[in-house]
């Protein structure tokens, strides 16, 4: 059936004009050529029909167009910028390594470079296991043969040789958190946490959220949202919530509200900030979420917390805050947010008259 139609269409325009009609539809003819074709079209029914079909084809193809929506574009951008961050870090490491081993040593002679790599490989194979066997005794870390690393020192400890250095920044950077297990403890005690890390060899970090290693890993999870599953990030927020007055934790939660691409995580991070000391960063995070977040649930949580702070008199009324709230009253698509914004202004007191 298609072949028949194809053959019919092939002969529907006068031979010499077939390609010119395509170019006319594509607006690729110069003025004189265009006039020539137009003149021909006036006197030739076949070509007029063929040109009409050309226009219909383009219209038909236009019906199958997609436009990337704003969320999709934003998520592609976020992914790209994260990849760029990682590339820059890798580039920095390469330059650092290059300063010890200049490429000029190796590049002129591939045979020498191959020999050097063989020697390095041989040495690592020979001495590596020996060095690894000695690592646990040299570091003051309680680590069992299965790679279970138990954090025993409190996060705020200043005791030299505590577990603060048990996981190196490089380990932390390259580690994937494969899972978080939480074991509730009674009597308002913080729950026990087990973090399974995939590093070069599997490692387990266990303790409470008050332990430095546990805290560092959880904060890292929030700082690198592209890398970890939303479930892991949600668990991390939930666990860190009890320490929301710790400046590092507070900062990580605010970071999650600003940058996490999952609305559930942003919402949970906002909730986790509830009750935190309302210092500048927290206040700014609430305002940013209220103004910029695309998710209405997150914006509602932000205005609720602002209302709560205003009702308790824990937030100062200033021009920036009032400007944001007035803007919300005028522009926010959610009726609830518009009403709550007005209520916050009222709660802030009689400083502003409107």
């Amino acid at each position: 059936m298609h072949q028949e139609e194809f053959d019919g269409l092939q002969s529907s325009a006068c031979g010499e004009f077939e390609t010119k009609l395509t170019l006319l539809a594509a607006d690729e003819l110069d003025t004189s050529e265009s006039e020539e074709v137009q003149k021909h079209l006036q006197g030739c029914e076949r070509c007029r029909r063929a040109f009409q079909q050309e226009a219909e084809l383009l219209a038909l193809m236009s019906s199958d167009r997609s436009e990337p929506d704003a969320n999709f574009l934003a998520s592609c951008r976020a992914g790209l910028f994260d990849s760029l961050d990682q590339q820059e870090e890798r580039g920095w490491l390469r330059r650092f390594a290059g300063s010890f081993l200049p490429s000029s040593w190796i590049s002129p002679d591939p045979a020498w470079s191959a020999a050097l790599l063989l020697i390095i490989g041989f040495s690592v194979g020979l001495f590596g296991p020996h060095l690894l066997r000695h690592t646990p005794t040299s570091a003051k870390t309680s680590q069992n043969p299965a790679g279970i690393l138990t954090a025993t020192e409190p996060a705020d400890s200043n005791i030299p040789g505590s577990d603060l250095n048990a996981i190196s920044p490089l380990d932390l950077h390259s580690a994937d958190v494969a899972g978080i297990n939480v074991f509730p403890a009674g009597d308002n005690a913080p729950p026990q946490v087990e973090l399974r890390l995939n590093t070069q060899r599997p490692m387990m970090v266990s303790g409470t959220v008050d332990d430095a290693n546990v805290k560092r890993v959880l904060i890292r999870v929030l700082q690198d949202s592209q890398r970890y599953d939303p479930d892991v990030r949600l668990d991390a927020v939930e666990l860190l919530r009890v320490r929301n007055n710790d400046p590092e934790v507070r900062s990580a939660l605010c970071h999650a509200v600003h940058t996490d691409h999952n609305a559930a995580v942003r919402l949970k991070a906002l909730e986790a900030l509830d009750g935190a000391e309302p210092q500048t960063l927290v206040r700014q995070t609430l305002l940013d979420a209220l103004v910029d977040d695309q998710n209405p649930g997150v914006r509602v949580e932000a205005i609720n917390e602002l209302r709560d702070l205003a009702a308790k008199g824990q937030i100062n009324s200033d021009d920036e805050l009032l400007k944001v709230l007035h803007e919300r009253i005028k522009k926010d698509p959610s009726t609830y947010i518009r009403l709550q914004s007005a209520a916050v202004i009222r709660d802030l007191g009689p400083r502003q008259k409107f």
Binding site: M1, H2, Q3, E5, F6, G8, L9, Q10, T19, T22, L23, A26, E28, Q53, E54, E56, L57, L58, L60, M61, S62, S63, D64, R65, S66, E67, P68, D69, N71, F72, L73, S75, C76, R77, G79, L80, F81, S83, L84, Q87, E88
Partner: protein, 210 residues
């Protein structure tokens, strides 16, 4: 007349200022200023994503093309010598990445009839993504729409990657054939032939639909 000349002059001056400003951004990005690079990305990435999305009809594939293209731009930015516009240079990279992707997909049988996905990764028919007014709760029209979408998808799969690219860039990105030739690293004549072949194939495939 005098007014029109003055307006033309103003437009030219504005265009020249815009080019200068963009070159300034490119130079800063070449010197390692990440923010300048991000600004360049923001200027063009919607068009790049639209091109990718309409070529591959699958959100995840479009995201891959977008990411790979801009990472290549970032890595090779030092090679840009201001001999053409940044836009042309960027599109050379984007079209190369997209053509590679289409060629790989053509060689994988399971990808012959792509099912579009939305930005959340959920599989949905193309017509599910159209504004509600198109379906208008009319099942007959909806069914016709689905059939049409399938026909167009089949017709597009009959084009070679290059023909598909030329058709897309000409009719939907609004580029001139000469510019497309510059971007694809080929002559205007070759691009013209690709456009003829693409149009004929589509005409043959979709003749019964009009």
């Amino acid at each position: 007349m005098g007014m029109s000349v003055a307006l033309d002059g103003d437009a030219r001056l504005a265009a020249a200022a815009k080019v200068q400003e963009e070159h300034g951004l490119v130079r800063s990005a070449q010197a390692g200023d990440r923010l300048s690079f991000e600004e360049l990305v923001r200027r063009y990435d919607r068009e790049v994503l639209r091109l990718a999305l309409n070529l591959v009809h699958r959100a995840e594939d479009a995201r891959d093309i977008y990411q790979e293209a801009f990472l290549r731009v970032y890595k090779n930015l030092h090679r840009f010598r201001f001999e053409c516009s940044f836009y042309t240079w960027l599109y050379r990279i984007v079209t190369n990445v997209a053509l590679d992707h289409l060629r790989r997909r053509t060689s994988r049988k399971e990808d012959q009839a792509p099912v579009p996905e939305d930005s959340e990764g959920t599989t949905r028919d193309f017509f599910d993504r159209q504004p509600e007014v198109r379906a208008a709760s009319n099942p007959e029209r909806n069914l016709l729409g689905q059939e049409l979408g399938e026909h167009i998808s089949t017709a597009l799969n009959r084009l070679s990657p290059r023909e598909r690219m030329v058709f897309e860039m000409k009719h939907y990105q609004g580029l001139k054939l000469r510019a497309i030739g510059d971007m694809l690293g080929t002559s205007e004549e070759t691009v013209k032939n690709s456009l003829f072949r693409a149009t004929r194939k589509l005409r043959a495939s979709l003749a019964g639909m009009r």
